[in-house]
């Protein structure tokens, strides 16, 4: 299982994700700009912003402790570690034995945990507010992600993502069944909640009182901010990859041949672009929910995930 080829493939996959993540954010911003009839920044703008941030000076609050400086590295590493476990290019996942969907979910929770702590460290009221709301949303989204993923895992007989994708590819009729559709909707709602997209939290807001994700990051600057921005872009890419490859798995190849990989990468990027467009249109269409209407949205996705399990597995 752990041949050198596999490790190379896994690292290549992580590199691909690192490269694609800022572009994905850029694409969503560009699409939203075009929908507001303005030219908007080019798609590769986030890469430039990251390059600038890495070169800038880091200003740290006097109240902050060593945790404030450690947190960006932990957030970035935990999110990067997830990209190695995702079924993006080939189905017999290179490191399938190392982690499954629970490892993915809990690694993302590790990143949120440390980011919330870092939000509290400088002691500003915005950081506390952002951290409290972020943990509330993360805690409520946790059961939905678990249930939606279990709906697929039970169908595939294993929680390892590689096997789920392989199973879905072998039985295309399965992928159209209501169980998969319900799980897809539930996971889509949770994606918007976890990555701080519009109905739950407005990424482009300037009013500190309405922020959830942004408020924790107000104190960061320079390379720390770059790491956190990159990590949140990676997180969005991860959720999009889960949505794309678990529910529409046909682009993933089975043989790790070079040609196959290239084609799989292209199909994968295409799927990401389609999802980005869907999110951009959705965000232009919908307004931000009040914070205490967010639990209603999350309970809708929880019920959908519950139905997904009922429809796909229990009624067998």
């Amino acid at each position: 299982m752990s041949g050198s080829g596999d490790y190379a493939l896994a690292l290549g996959q992580a590199g691909l994700c690192l490269a694609l993540a800022p572009g994905l954010i850029g694409l969503i911003r560009w699409l939203k700009a075009r929908m507001q009839n303005r030219r908007g920044a080019p798609v590769w703008q986030p890469y430039l912003e990251l390059r600038k941030l890495f070169a800038k000076e880091v200003v740290v609050s006097t109240n902050a402790s060593w945790l404030f400086c450690l947190a960006p590295y932990v957030v970035f590493t935990s999110t990067l570690a997830v990209t190695v476990l995702l079924p993006i290019l080939t189905v017999p996942l290179p490191l399938d034995g190392v982690g499954d969907l629970l490892v993915v979910v809990y690694l993302l929770l590790l990143g949120t945990f440390f980011l919330a702590l870092a939000g509290l460290d400088p002691g500003s009221p915005f950081g506390g507010m952002g951290s409290s709301r972020e943990m509330t949303v993360a805690a409520l989204a946790e059961p939905t992600i678990a249930m939606a993923m279990f709906a697929l895992a039970l169908g595939a007989g294993s929680t390892n993502l590689g096997q789920i994708v392989a199973r879905a590819m072998d039985r295309p009729s399965e992928a159209v069944s209501p169980g998969y559709l319900l799980a897809f909707t539930a996971l889509f709602i949770v994606t918007l909640a976890e990555t701080g997209r519009l109905p739950v939290d407005n990424p482009a807001t300037h009013l500190e009182l309405t922020m959830i994700h942004e408020a924790m990051v107000l104190e960061y600057s320079g390379r720390y901010l770059a790491l956190i921005e990159w990590a949140s872009a990676l997180k969005l890419l991860i959720f999009f990859s889960l949505l794309a490859n678990l529910f529409v798995p046909w682009g993933v190849t089975r043989s790790p041949a070079a040609g196959g990989l290239l084609l799989a990468a292209l199909i994968y990027v295409g799927k990401l672009a389609v999802l980005a467009a869907v999110v951009a249109v959705f965000e232009t269409r919908v307004a931000k929910l009040r914070l205490f209407r967010v639990p209603e949205l999350l309970s809708v996705s929880f019920v959908l995930a519950l139905l997904a399990i009922t429809a796909s597995f229990l009624s067998r």
């Binding site: 009729s173 159209v176 069944s177 209501p178 559709l181 319900l182 639990p295 209603e296 309970s299 809708v300 929880f302 019920v303 959908l304 519950l306 139905l307 009922t310 429809a311 229990l314 009624s315």
Partner: protein
């Protein structure tokens, strides 16, 4: 062939159930009416689907009637009534939205447990959808119990009737046309009576809050 039939009927009944859950989630009256329209159209489609797979001409008529009456007719009347009472302010239901959604989810699980023996009993390819239809019956009963606005309760009742129709379609591959027409007639009559009832409530209490009715007791 059976696989596709089972899958599609399962898909249809899922859409019908989700429309029912939409009633629990959304608060605005127009949203409720749209949910009911979607549900009736999905029910008609499922009936047509069953008709196609069982090559039963009569069922096509039933599907057509369903879509015509419940998909177009009743929503039209409902929208007219909704416009008339547009000024009335929103009354919070007994159970807040998040809890009512969770209760809806649990009711569907209950329906699944209740219908398990029947699902094992029947050999029809559409048996997998039966728990979902029973789930809709339970959810619409919950809507009738937990919502205060008269119009929402009317829609709850109509959805209950849809649930029973779906049970009939999935359980016995449709009931003869005559019986179906009879059912439609009493639905229409019931709806008309409710319509008059709702007007009266509005005239006497200036609002559609069913809770006001207990003022009649004294």
């Amino acid at each position: 062939m059976d696989g596709a039939f089972a899958q599609l009927s399962m898909l249809g009944s899922s859409v019908v159930l989700i429309a029912g859950l939409l009633l629990l989630w959304r608060r605005g009256l127009p949203a409720h009416i749209d949910a009911f329209t979607l549900q009736s159209v999905a029910l008609g489609a499922t009936t047509a689907l069953v008709a196609y797979f069982t090559a039963d001409a009569e069922l096509y008529w039933v599907a057509g009637l369903l879509v015509a009456v419940k998909g177009i007719g009743i929503p039209l009347l409902l929208r007219r009534m909704a416009r008339r009472f547009a000024t009335e302010r929103e009354v919070a239901p007994y159970v807040n939205t998040a809890t009512s959604l969770l209760v809806g989810g649990l009711l569907v699980l209950l329906a699944y447990v209740v219908m398990r023996p029947i699902v094992q009993l029947s050999q029809l390819p559409t048996r997998a959808g039966l728990p979902l239809a029973m789930g809709l019956v339970f959810v619409s009963l919950f809507v009738i119990v937990s919502r205060k606005r008269a119009l929402t309760q009317v829609i709850g009742f109509l959805m209950l009737e849809n649930g029973i129709a779906l049970l009939a379609v999935l359980g016995t591959h449709g009931i003869p046309l005559i019986v179906e027409i009879g059912v439609f007639l009493d639905v229409l009559m019931g709806f008309l009576v409710m319509q008059i009832f709702v007007y009266q409530i509005h005239e006497t209490f200036e609002s559609l809050d069913v809770e006001q009715l207990n003022r009649l007791r004294r």
